[in-house]
Symmetry: C2
Subunit: 319 residues, 2 copies
C-alpha cells in the first residue's frame, strides 16, 4: 500500500490529471488512503492562492469564475476550479453548466475543474472541499477558485477556506441590501456587482457603499465594489487586479499568518470532532446504536445526558 | 448541591418565573448545575407543542409571534416565547423590540418571554435554545414559540427543533421566490404571507403556489400558504387553526414519533461531539494547545492528521 501511495503522490505533484481525479474520488469516498496521500502532499502546499466566490443562485457566479479562470490561464498561471453544488430539489442545472464548462477547457492541461455535490457529505462538505484545495495546491495550481452558493453555514465554512472571498450581487434580485445574509456580508473581501449593465446597478452600488461606510475596515481593508458583466467578459481584468491588490495588502499587513493560524484552528477542531465521533459511532452498528438510544430518549425512558454518558462509556472513552 | 437542585426543579415545574429565569441563565453560562436540573426535569417534558417561526429581517416575525402568543393566551394556554437574535453588526433593534414586548405581557403569569443572543454561544446556540425549550416544556408551557432569523445553519438547526415550522414571507422583499434560501423552503410546514395588504401579495402567493406544486408532499402534507397582517391582528386565528390542523395531521399519520426520534439522533450526536471536544480541549490550556498546534500546521512543520492524532493521544483517547 505504501509504495503505490508514494507514487500516486508524485503523480499528483506533477499535475497528472488522472492521479488528481482519482485522489478526489478517494477524498469524496472517505477512503483511508486519501488521508495517507494528503499527509504526504502537505509539505508541498501553501503556495496556491485560494479565491472563494459566493452569491445567491442566478448571480452568474459560474460565468464569473469561468472568465476569471480564463484570465489567469492567459497569464500562464495553473488554475484549479472547485464548484460546490448544494443539491436541493429547488436547484439543479449547475451540474449541466459545469459539464459545459469542462468541455470548453478540456484540452487545457493547466486547468483542472471539478464539481462537488452536497450529496453524501452530511456536514463534511467543507472538509472535503478543503482537502481537494489542498490537493490542487500540491499539484501546483497557483490559482484555486472555489465557487459555492451562499446558502447555509456549510457554504460559509467553504468560502472561509479562501484567502480572498468574493461576494457576487446583481441588480434587481431582492432590491434591498437588507436581504443579503449577514454572514455573507461579514466574510466579503471584495464585492462583485455582476450584470452591471442592468437597470438598478447604480442604486445597488450606492446602497452597498452606504452600508459599507458603516462598517469598520478589517485589518485596514475596506471591501471595494467591482462592477462586471461576466457574460461579456467585462470588468474581469479589473476584478483580477483588485484580488491582487487585496493579496498584497494582506501579505504586507502581516495578517496572513494570523488568518492562516485561525483557519487551521477551525480545521483541526473539525478533524478532532470527526475523529472522536467516528470512534464512538464508527463500526457497522454505530448508526443503529444511536437510533436505539434516540428512541429511548424520545420516549422519555432515558434522559439525553445519561444516554450520551452511557454511549461514551461503552466506547471506552468514559465521561 | 443535590437538594437545592431538587427544589429548583420543583419550582420550575410549578412555573415559577424566577426559577425559570435563573435556569436559563445557568444554561446560557453552561453551568454544571444546568445539566443536573435539566436531567431532573426531563421526564416532565414532551407535552409542549413547539412552533418555530423564521424569515428574513423585516418580515414582521416578532409581531406575528406576539399576536399568536396573545391568541393562545386568550384560550388560556400557557405560552413560552424564545426569541433568538443573531447579533451581527448589520442587525440590531431586535432586543429593544423584545423589551417592549415583555412589558406588554409583564403582568401575565401564563406568558414567559426570553430573548437569546448569539453572543457567547459559539456553535452552541441551537443547543441552548433546545434546552430552554425543554425547560419551558417542563414548566408546563403548552405552546412554545421559537422565533429566529433565517440566516445560517445555526438558525436552521434552531427551527428544526420545532414540531411545526412557519416560514414568514412578505411581498416586495426580493420580488423573486428564487431568493428564498433553499434550506428554509425545505423545512417549512406552513408559509405565512405577512403584510398581505401590501402590493404584490397575490403575485408572491402565486409564485409560492407554483413552486410548491413542484414539490412532493412530505408525509402527505402539502405546506399551505396563510395570509396575515400581523400588525392588525388579521389572519392570526386562521394561522393558529392551520397549525392545529398540521398538528393533528402529523400525530394521526404516526410520523410524530419518527420525527422525534430523528430529532433526538441529531441532538445526541451534538451532545457526544461537544462532550468529546471538551475532553480534548477542556481545561485552562486547551485553547492555547490548539493555537500552538494550528501555528505548527500553518507553517507546514506538521501535517494536520499527525497534529490531531498527537492531541488525541495526549488526552488519553488515543487514535
Amino acid at each position: 500500500m505504501s509504495l503505490p501511495v508514494e507514487k500516486w503522490a508524485e503523480q499528483v505533484r506533477t499535475g497528472d490529471v488522472r492521479a488528481i481525479a482519482r485522489a478526489i474520488t478517494a477524498i469524496e469516498n472517505h477512503q483511508a488512503e486519501a488521508e495517507e496521500l494528503l499527509r504526504r502532499l502537505f509539505a508541498a502546499t501553501g503556495r496556491a492562492y485560494l479565491t472563494g466566490v459566493t452569491g445567491a443562485p442566478g448571480t452568474g457566479k459560474s460565468t464569473l469564475v469561468d472568465r476569471l479562470a480564463a484570465y489567469y490561464r492567459k497569464r500562464e498561471e495553473a488554475v484549479g476550479v472547485i464548484a460546490v453544488d448544494p443539491t436541493s430539489p429547488y436547484t439543479g442545472g449547475a451540474i449541466l453548466g459545469d459539464r459545459i464548462r469542462m468541455q470548453s477547457h478540456a484540452s487545457d492541461q493547466g486547468m483542472f475543474i471539478r464539481s462537488m455535490a452536497t450529496r453524501g457529505f452530511m456536514g463534511g462538505l467543507a472538509r472535503a472541499t478543503a482537502e481537494v484545495a489542498w490537493l490542487l495546491d500540491a499539484a501546483g495550481k497557483q490559482e484555486v477558485l472555489i465557487e459555492t452558493v451562499g446558502v447555509g453555514q456549510d457554504e460559509i465554512d467553504i468560502v472561509r477556506l479562501a484567502d480572498c472571498v468574493l461576494v457576487v450581487l446583481v441588480p434587481g434580485m431582492g432590491d434591498d441590501i437588507q436581504n443579503l445574509k449577514a454572514g455573507l456580508m461579514e466574510i466579503a473581501d471584495i464585492f462583485v456587482l455582476n450584470k452591471a449593465d442592468r437597470e438598478g446597478a447604480s442604486r445597488l452600488e450606492q446602497q452597498l457603499m452606504a452600508m459599507l461606510s458603516l462598517v469598520m475596515p478589517r485589518d485596514g481593508w475596506h471591501p471595494p465594489v467591482v462592477r462586471t458583466v461576466a457574460s461579456e467578459s467585462k470588468g474581469i481584468e479589473s476584478l483580477a487586479e483588485t484580488i491582487g491588490r487585496f493579496r498584497k495588502h494582506f501579505e504586507a499587513s502581516g495578517q496572513r499568518e494570523r488568518k492562516h493560524a485561525e483557519h487551521w484552528k477551525r480545521r483541526l477542531l473539525g478533524l478532532i470532532e470527526s475523529r472522536l465521533v467516528e470512534r464512538v459511532l464508527g463500526g457497522a452498528d454505530g448508526e443503529a446504536r444511536l437510533a436505539e438510544m434516540a428512541k429511548e430518549v424520545a420516549e422519555r425512558r432515558k434522559d439525553p445526558f445519561t444516554a450520551v454518558n452511557e454511549m461514551l462509556k461503552k466506547s471506552g472513552i468514559g465521561v
